[in-house]
């Protein structure tokens, strides 16, 4: 099904180009892309260009948005500028999201590929191992890992990666199971390609489309995870992040809604953008779904 068959059926158009065209016709996906570009640009500006200090007390505590000229989004419970916090805090949030997704994908694909390709007892063992990680509620397990090994951005990313890879592994395994008996794999084996080559050079490229979609969605999930940990006070306390802003201002919620609302909105929009792109990719790679 899907890409491989499409390739053979409709020769003249490259599948990638077709997917790209599909993606470009998908309005929500375009919206997501534009939104994400804007967010990334703002965070880039905050992280690398702006010299503002998100911890600096710039005005009276809990100033209403726009109350003073330079503070369009108001100040938090200490009088720190929320806009600066958003610009500076996005970096760590997105960085953790990306690296956690990367860790997830690396572990998930390795385990899933082995299980799916070799099958038999290897498959059995690896899948039991995967199930083992699936019975622990992810957030709870991540909390334990982060507290035990002190919360830094690195440990948080690793913890999120460790608790999220099983899904990717299952998906990879399913794809490998499907592809490993297709003609061209058998052909590759017949001409003497080794297991390594077949896994990484023959099967994986063909299994990629759903994995790319899943990886994209994982970024969003990881961002939500980081936010949840920071909200509980288990984030890296020395790094401003969106989740941290929400957690720190939580006790003051009744007096000031804005220090909580804006960082939450930032997380929401980022995850939304990422998931719209993910959905768009999914539709683009699976033209059959167009009819739905």
């Amino acid at each position: 099904m899907s890409v491989q068959e499409t390739r053979r059926a409709i020769k003249p158009v490259s599948p990638l180009r077709e997917a790209a065209q599909m993606f470009c016709r998908n309005r929500p996906a375009i919206f997501g892309t534009v939104l994400l570009s804007l967010i990334v640009a703002a965070v880039f500006y905050g992280t690398f260009i702006s010299g503002a200090d998100p911890y600096e007390i710039v005005w009276a505590p809990q100033a209403f948005p726009g109350e003073a000229e330079n503070i369009p989004l108001g100040t938090d419970y200490m009088g720190r500028d929320i806009l600066t916090g958003l610009l500076k805090g996005g970096g760590p949030t997105i960085a953790v999201g990306l690296s956690a997704a990367l860790i997830t994908v690396v572990i998930g694909i390795s385990v899933g590929a082995m299980a799916g390709y070799f099958g038999g007892w290897a498959d059995n063992a690896l899948m039991r191992f995967t199930e083992f990680f699936q019975v622990l509620p992810a957030l709870l397990f991540a909390m334990v890992l982060v507290t035990l090994f002190s919360p830094t951005l690195t440990t948080i990313a690793i913890a999120i990666g460790i608790v999220s890879w099983p899904q990717t592994a299952r998906l990879t395994r399913a794809e490998f199971l499907r592809i490993r008996n297709l003609e061209y794999v058998t052909a590759a084996r017949a001409v003497g390609a080794g297991n390594n080559r077949i896994i990484w050079r023959v099967i994986l490229p063909n299994a990629l489309p759903p994995l790319i979609v899943s990886a994209t969605l994982t970024i969003g999930v990881a961002i939500l995870f980081e936010a949840g940990l920071s909200f509980l006070g288990l984030g890296d306390p020395n790094t401003m992040s969106w989740g941290l802003m929400i957690g720190a201002n939580r006790s003051y919620l009744l007096d000031a809604w804005w220090p909580v609302t804006f960082p939450g909105l930032a997380i929401f929009l980022t995850v939304l953008a990422v998931s719209l792109i993910g959905d768009g990719l999914n539709d683009a790679f699976n033209p059959k779904l167009r009819q739905r």
Binding site: E56, V58, A60, M78, T147, S251, L254
Partner: protein, 566 residues
């Protein structure tokens, strides 16, 4: 800093929105010897109280009190168990003092009052104290409370409570008859009477706790058989404690309330909401300025800062005096001069907290007000650092320090640490704020001396022997023990003064010793005291006789009643 606010010059001390007075007859203020030593604040409040009492004499008849009703107390503090004999801290103290009676109460003028002890007599030589118990007092299981139980309680607290100084000099308790206990001391111990009040000495039943089990983990700690006005109905750990009136309480007609529910809430804003919505009636240990301000203007609510004199909670910045460059007094003084205490109190805390300059709180009779204030003086601070030989580098930085803080109490701790990060660079000291994710992490760092500066909140606990000595005695530099002398401060004269004061029974001479102590440690700054922690209690103003002694809600609420039931 672009931020300016006009804070009124008004006295920040009186924040009693609704002055309420005890309705029990008796002298309200004894303008004696002791009263002369009282702080401005107490005098002021007492004067206010006297006026109101004079204006409303009709209120002071006990006959008007209609008993009954229940009270909901909300708190973020989850007690481990309910036995204050082996557990310090406010979480256990509030329910613990309702369940267990102490020998004495302390009123708002620091005067001992009879409670389970009908009378007490300190011997001439100060080496023994004779206690007479009230008649007919029983534990909640109906067993009589005897002098044997007093002996057992004192020995249990002496051997198990973290505040070892409270009963350390007690060598024995003799029990000539059922109602008489004679406490024998190895040396005079002026702190003893205070240590017999509030949550410090609950009278616990020997026939329950003396069964040979380790009292630290005794099952009855969570299901106590008490001696106080309320008995435990249900203890749902971390969630709720339900208490009900003990019918055979030893004071006739008390307690007035039928029921007290202590609800544990994880989030301060939920507590505020609960109080505003009438779901809760009493919210003690409030510190966040926005909550205090909000509730002060709340309809039908009263907010007071009374009842926290006993614990005397100080917010301070501690120095690791054993670590360069903080081993140099001039560096510590420079930092003190660079901190704007007024800004902290008035801007960061919006005027709800009061400045604290020395190691003993102002409401304590032993307070000395003639200590160095360290008013903001950046020039002097710079000069001190120059003199100490710390030249600034090209960026204007002389050296870098880390500052830790107790996690979980934003406004008192983290905010000031953040403030230091923006303030100390003005005198060339770069500051890194080192956050701890939880209390154990912080406590581990500080008690193993792995810090430069740390914010901390420490309580006086009434008598300096209990809560102050531990910070300054060089013999109390104990690695691994939090709230000991983790500053590793050592001064022979201070050791001498404290040791003398601990056994000095004459109030005048004792005060003189503590005066000198306060001057020295404020000059040498093992800790820089910042402010009195602005503990406030918010409550439904229809509640009468809210506890106003020095222990506030950490003393029995047997006199509390509903003026008008909700």
């Amino acid at each position: 800093m672009a931020y300016k606010t006009n804070f009124s010059e008004g006295c920040p001390f009186v924040t009693v929105s609704q002055a309420k007075q005890k309705q029990t007859p008796g002298t309200v203020i004894e303008m004696g010897n002791i009263a002369m030593k009282f702080s401005r604040r107490l005098l002021l409040n007492s004067a206010l109280a006297a006026t109101i009492l004079a204006a409303a004499p009709a209120l002071s008849h006990a006959q008007d009190i209609e008993p009954g009703g229940s009270v909901v107390v909300v708190s973020t503090q989850a007690p481990r168990h309910l036995n204050p004999a082996v557990q310090s801290g406010i979480a256990t103290a509030v329910p613990g003092t309702q369940i267990f009676a102490s020998l004495l109460k302390y009123d708002e003028n620091w005067q001992p009052q009879p409670y389970l002890a009908e009378s007490w007599d300190v011997a001439e030589d100060g080496l023994s104290v004779t206690i007479t118990l009230v008649e007919g007092a029983t534990f909640h299981d109906g067993e009589p409370i005897t002098s044997e139980d007093v002996r057992f309680s004192i020995m249990t607290v002496r051997d198990n409570h973290p505040f070892q100084t409270m009963f350390e000099p007690v060598s024995d308790v003799e029990t000539p008859d059922e109602r008489t206990a004679v406490i024998k001391l190895s040396k005079p111990h002026p702190a003893l009477l205070l240590a017999m009040s509030g949550a410090l000495l609950p009278i616990i039943p020997e026939h329950v706790y003396g069964d040979g089990q380790d009292v630290q983990v005794h099952p009855a700690n969570s299901a106590p058989v008490g001696s106080g006005p309320f008995r435990l109905v249900e203890f749902d750990p971390g969630r709720q404690i339900t208490l009900e009136r003990y019918e055979d309480f030893f004071i006739e007609g008390r307690p007035y309330l039928d029921r007290i529910v202590i609800r544990i809430v994880s989030d301060p804003s939920s507590m505020v909401l609960a109080l505003e919505a009438g779901e809760a009636d009493i919210l003690p240990f409030l510190t966040a300025s926005q909550d205090i301000r909000r509730l002060e203007s709340g309809e039908g609510l009263a907010v007071t800062n009374r009842g926290y004199e006993g614990i005397g909670a100080i917010n301070w910045l501690a120095f690791n005096t054993n670590k360069a460059p903080l081993d140099d007094i001039r560096v510590r003084q420079a930092i003190a001069y660079a901190i704007d205490r007024d800004f902290i109190v008035n801007a960061l805390h919006r005027g709800v907290s009061a400045p604290q300059r020395g190691p003993i709180v102002e409401s304590n009779p032993l307070f000395n007000e003639n200590v160095e204030a360290y008013d903001l003086d950046l020039e002097k601070a710079t000069a001190l650092l120059d003199e100490a030989g710390h030249a600034p580098d090209a960026n204007g930085t002389r050296f870098t320090l880390t500052v830790d803080y107790l996690p979980g109490t934003g406004e008192q701790q983290q905010n000031i640490a953040e403030y230091l990060r923006s303030q100390l660079p003005k005198i060339g000291i770069a500051v890194e704020v080192r956050a701890s994710p939880d209390f154990p992490t912080w406590s581990q760092r500080i008690s193993s001396f792995d810090f430069d500066l740390t914010m901390d909140m420490v309580f006086n606990w009434g008598d300096p022997v209990i809560g102050v000595h531990r910070t300054y005695l060089s013999s109390n530099i104990r690695e691994g023990v939090i709230w000991s002398n983790t500053q590793q401060y050592s001064n022979d004269r201070v050791d001498e003064l404290l040791e003398e004061a601990a056994v000095e029974n004459d109030p005048e001479r004792r005060k003189a010793l503590y005066d000198e102590f306060q001057t020295i440690v404020t000059d040498e700054l093992p800790v820089y005291n910042i402010n009195l922690i602005p503990y406030h209690t918010a409550y439904d103003e229809r509640l009468g006789n809210m506890p106003e002694g020095i222990w506030g809600l950490m003393q029995s609420m047997d006199e509390v009643y509903w003026i008008e039931q909700p």
